[in-house]
């Protein structure tokens, strides 16, 4: 037989062989030949591992880019972001591009906000941005109790390939989150907050991003300390406990643990209100703040609800036989029914 006559059967055999190979590659359950799109390790990470990866990602590389935050109501805000990490020190600079100009600088948990229009600089210390998140240590089991994790696939955002991970809430008291995590560093390049029906309430995404950008930490530090010409404000947030303030969560909302309690100073200006209490709860991913102050008939006119992006807000009058009524403003990135559950679970001691 001539060589030529070998080709058709040979070609057929080769075709069969290659098709068999692709079929076996696509068959699930075969650990050796993994699914083509996703790296094997990504599928096996747990909730805690993913959260740690997302948290640690900024330490690895400096970056700069433009972040765009959009809500389902149609509002859009964007800001220019610079980030650099030098060992233990993390520095960030955020310049808003929408609305009145505003520069926010962060060095670990120290935050200073410059408002050029009013020449005011506000300095504060934020516990939530501490070096190591406590809730990840102690509460990580709790997060997995209320959120499941699902790897959706991969997608390209701002020029980078990212794994798409979804935190699926296990009950109706919280929102879901879809996160695009850059494949190499784990950096969050896009984040969506979803409601129970999968509708996107809010999205924060980098429209452009440059990794390993030439961001100099001393330059940022210098800019951060330049407060000349600005009136420096340091809001006095006195830390307290709910018990000391006379409040109790009789029926706690499933998954939400009390985190902090602050006494807020009365806002400046006459008739603007008095001292209030901010009681912060968290389930690890979502946070709720309960603002409590004494009821003032003139200012606290109407109970209601409101939303801005993923943040929901609820006001409620809480009657109290002994002390006169209280006014509650509940704010959080949770469904409205959760805020209502908070309002119902609150109780006044003494």
């Amino acid at each position: 037989m001539k060589t030529v006559e070998f080709f058709p059967p040979l070609a057929l055999v080769l075709c069969l062989a290659s098709s068999l190979q692709t079929v076996s590659a696509q068959t699930p359950g075969k650990a050796i030949t993994a699914a083509p799109q996703v790296a094997p390790s990504a599928t096996q990470r747990s909730v805690a591992e993913w959260l740690m990866r997302l948290h640690e990602a900024p330490r690895k590389r400096a970056y700069m880019g433009t972040l765009v935050v959009s809500s389902d109501a149609g509002s859009l805000s964007s800001a220019r972001v610079w980030h650099v990490c030098d060992g233990e020190q993390q520095m960030e600079r955020v310049e808003t591009l929408t609305g009145p100009p505003r520069s926010t600088f962060r060095r670990n948990d120290e935050v200073i906000t410059f408002l050029p229009e009013t020449k005011v600089a506000r300095s504060e210390r934020r516990e939530s941005l501490g070096p190591f998140p406590n809730f990840l240590k102690t509460g990580e089991y709790a997060i997995a109790e209320f959120y499941g994790i699902r790897l959706i696939g991969s997608e390209r955002v701002a020029g980078f390939d990212a794994d798409v991970v979804q935190f699926v809430p296990k009950d109706k008291l919280r929102f879901g989150y879809r996160i695009w995590s850059e494949k190499k560093t784990g950096l969050v390049v896009k984040l969506q907050t979803l409601d129970a029906s999968g509708h996107v309430l809010e999205q924060a995404a980098f429209s452009e991003l440059q990794l390993d950008a030439p961001v100099k930490i001393d330059q940022l530090a210098q800019m951060m300390s330049r407060t000349e010409g600005y009136r420096l404000e340091k809001p006095e947030m006195v830390k307290t406990t709910s018990a000391a303030e006379g409040w109790l969560m009789r029926n706690p909302v499933s998954g939400f643990r009390p985190m902090n309690c602050f006494k807020r100073p009365a806002p400046e200006g006459p008739g603007q209100g008095q001292q209030s209490l901010q009681w912060v709860f968290s389930d690890g991913l979502a946070t709720v703040s309960l603002f409590l102050e004494t009821y003032d008939r003139q200012r606290h006119v109407k109970e209601g609800a409101m939303a801005e992006g993923a943040t929901q807000m609820l006001t409620r009058r809480l009657p109290d036989k002994e002390n006169g009524a209280w006014w509650l403003t509940a704010v959080g990135e949770v469904p409205l029914q959760t805020l209502q559950a908070f309002a119902q679970g609150l109780e006044r001691r003494r």
Binding site: R106, V280, A307
Partner: protein, 221 residues
């Protein structure tokens, strides 16, 4: 007054009836009309013409009464046989010929006869139902385009709040009573900002949560 002047006067009066004159000219024309009988007659005639043009029912004036009577009889005959007659309602041929007698004298005289099925109540009902059905169909399709109303809470988009942010009703899931719309004010803005600043105990806070809050706040201030 010669013919040319008379024509000019009539033109002025016509313009006055149409509201096309300037203040000075109005004053002059009115003065002329109040003095001159002929001008006054002209004024009345123009008004009548206008009325007749606008409404077919104001036809009973003097010599037209006969015509209207003939027309009514014809229409009555038409309504007794409700099927569509080829060629439509029949007007007297004299009208078609442009006979001034049939139409009545005077400049441009047109009478708009009422619809052939005007007297037939059945058709009025049909027309009513048809318009109702059209309205229902349109509102059904428009209702489908609007965002889905969730249980107990009406449709959103109450426009922009005082700080320029679009405000919408928070959605209430099943079984939760409806909440009223709140009006954004400075105090609520402050509390919202305070929540974002101090309530960020979230695993997602660093860096996404912090960046999101720092970006978002800019728009609300």
């Amino acid at each position: 007054m010669n013919a040319e002047e008379r024509l000019k006067q009539r033109e002025l009066i016509s313009a006055l009836a149409d509201g096309q004159l300037s203040e000075l000219e109005i004053a002059r024309t009115v003065r002329v009309t109040s003095v001159d009988d002929d001008a006054r007659d002209c004024w009345h005639t123009y008004h009548l013409v206008g009325d007749l043009l606008r409404s077919g029912e104001l036809g009973a004036f003097g010599r037209d009464r006969d015509f209207v009577a003939r027309l009514s009889i014809r229409l009555q005959a038409e309504s007794d046989t409700p099927r569509l007659v080829k060629g439509g309602p029949k007007f007297p041929d004299s009208m078609a010929m442009g006979d001034p007698q049939a139409l009545g004298s005077g400049p441009e005289r047109l009478v708009f006869a009422p619809a052939a099925n005007e007297r037939n109540f059945r058709w009025k009902l049909v027309a009513g139902f048809a318009s109702l059905a059209a309205v229902a169909a349109i509102s059904w399709s428009v209702g489908g385009l609007l965002p889905v109303a969730r249980d107990g809470v009406g449709l959103a988009r109450s426009g922009t709040g005082p700080s320029g942010e679009p405000v919408r009703l928070a959605d209430a899931s099943t079984g939760v009573p409806a909440a009223q719309v709140m009006i954004r004010d400075r105090r609520l803005d402050e509390l919202m900002a305070a929540h974002r600043q101090f309530g960020g105990n979230s695993a997602l806070q660093n860096p996404s949560g912090f960046l999101r809050n720092a970006t978002f706040e800019g728009a609300t201030r």
